[in-house]
Subunit: 199 residues, 4 copies
């Protein structure tokens, strides 16, 4: 069970063999009360945290407070990779539309991605078909995997853009200089984007 | 329970708020089977891993394979901070004595140390009184906390050195240049130790 | 002269006391031929490299190959902090206008900046007055100092925008996600910019 | 000359292409007075700094204040790689013998080492033959190159140890835990040395 725990910890995001082993030793050194508390909370996390069947974010409480909020603009649908991205965007306090959590990025190499259950492309298609937003914002990361995922989403949603009664605009987050970027160390792609998007 | 899990993960070694939250989301996204497997292994870790009541290391199997190994020199007792230190020393393959795992270092600042249950100074005293080794090797880290802990151990064991029938030698791991050390970047303490311990 | 050399090396960009001393020792260990070659090239750098009196970049050859290139769009004037920024932008291969090298940023803290001679705000004013570009692109870094410098430039150029016969558009490089940016780790300012500049 | 300066800066210790170019631009931006001051000091460094013909360290002043100091123990000869190592050892304030500066390490890969002129193995042989110290301390770094260099020195000096009237002891700086070393992250070699050298 010690080795099984190490195996399980290796599936945690960002955890390698050395830290997985430290975690297992850490647990071995805890008393029965701590272990029971930990195990109980793990088993009951599903009671506390539910996954919204509309946007697929995790939420506590009776209902998803974003999907159920009628003051948020349902014409805007932002697609994010994961819950922490959504939280970070909410923290910026400048977005008042809806979300859809895809569940990760299309992986090029890392076998840990996508997580068990895969990405929710099918659910996204259904969501867009039903919600009929005016604009879909692809808020994937500016990485090779993020760009690849956005390209794939555009392809999937293409039929909906053409066949639905109204035109759906698909946008991406602006590319350019992020806070702290120095021109001296910028790659050509960033410089090129920053120049095109000047204003 | 989501927030409680974050609290628990914050007690894990080396885990900060951001990663604790990622772990909680990671668990929220796993299926019931994964969660049950994880919780079961946590609850049963004590069945698999036992803590030796002589050296206090964690071991799997019927008995501690170091304490029960009659080919290991019981006249040598090495005191280490934690299990991973012991493992690393075993990996070097050059020590054939016994061990005692203290459970951490006397902390100067970090509130995470010592872990729940405190350090085993009392158990160490009893162990030395009973085992009567010829030499005790203080194998704490060459950090302020490690040095402080070794000083404290020496003070605690002082009565045993004087009252027992035979003299106990207390040694510390050699100080000097560790692999990769360059003279240009060495601190004065290391240079001083390296010079004193030249041979 | 050894200590004077250390003082001089301390003025070099990015050089601290330890490295300045290593450089001085390095020179002390070189033969007379090396030292003469080094000194000669230092004294003659001005013969080889001239500073363009129009854009203030350094150039080799008979004339500044950017200012003298009639195929470059003189209606576009990009203001950069320093020569290496200009080089990096040229490397991206997507800009075909003219440049003006300011000489650094308005410093908030670092006493090494601005370099001897100060920033060329006055020269910039004269350049704009004479060149009458249609657009001025403020290509300072997306740092506090860079933003501060751009604000100051806008203030300085304000009279020219209003009094000249034609309207001068002043733009800044686009803000948003730079290559490699992950949403999870982005600051609110970058997220806000990326959302505003989506397309 | 701009490119020649970049070539020269590339020979400086620890300087890569990007920084070499920044240095060249930095010089191009300085006024004639600065450049003349810099060149003058470079040309005159040999007048200010002399290399001791006994220990080969660089010194300012009328004579090498270590070799000429009759209060320093001439029976102890410490061999160091370079001047900054010697300075760092002096800073520790615990060594009162003499030195010999070898000029670098026997290089396994890096083409920048040894510096122009090569290492002073021959001079070392002559120095030992003449000075007849009681102990030679090999104070090379605890790196592969440092160890290799020490081995080579031992081989070279072997004839002197056997033929001279008195026996010369050759020692090395002590190996073990350097300041800050944690057992958890130590390599087997360091652990092995620390255990052997315990006391």
């Amino acid at each position: 069970m010690f080795n099984r725990l190490i195996e399980i910890f290796l599936k945690f995001p960002g955890i390698g063999p050395r830290q997985a082993k430290r975690f297992a030793y850490f647990l071995a050194g805890q008393d029965a009360k701590f272990l029971k508390d930990f195990a109980d909370n793990i088993l009951e996390i599903k009671k506390d945290i539910k996954q919204c069947d509309s946007c697929f974010r995790f939420y506590a409480g009776p209902q998803c407070e974003i999907c159920s909020n009628i003051n948020r603009d349902k014409n805007l649908l932002m697609i994010v990779e994961k819950d922490v991205d959504l939280e970070n965007i909410e923290k910026a306090g400048i977005y008042n539309g809806k979300y859809f959590v895809l569940g990760g990025t299309l992986s090029l190499t890392n076998s840990k991605n996508p997580p068990a259950g895969g990405l929710r492309f099918k659910e996204l298609f259904n969501k867009v078909q039903k919600a009929k937003p005016l604009e879909i914002i692809l808020a994937t990361s500016a990485t090779a995997e993020g760009e690849n995922t956005s390209l794939y989403i555009e392809k999937i949603l293409e039929p909906l853009r053409q066949s639905q009664g109204k035109h759906i605009k698909i946008t991406r987050l602006g590319r350019g200089l992020s806070t702290g970027t120095e021109l001296e160390y910028s790659d050509s792609q960033t410089i090129s984007n920053a120049l095109k998007n000047r204003k």
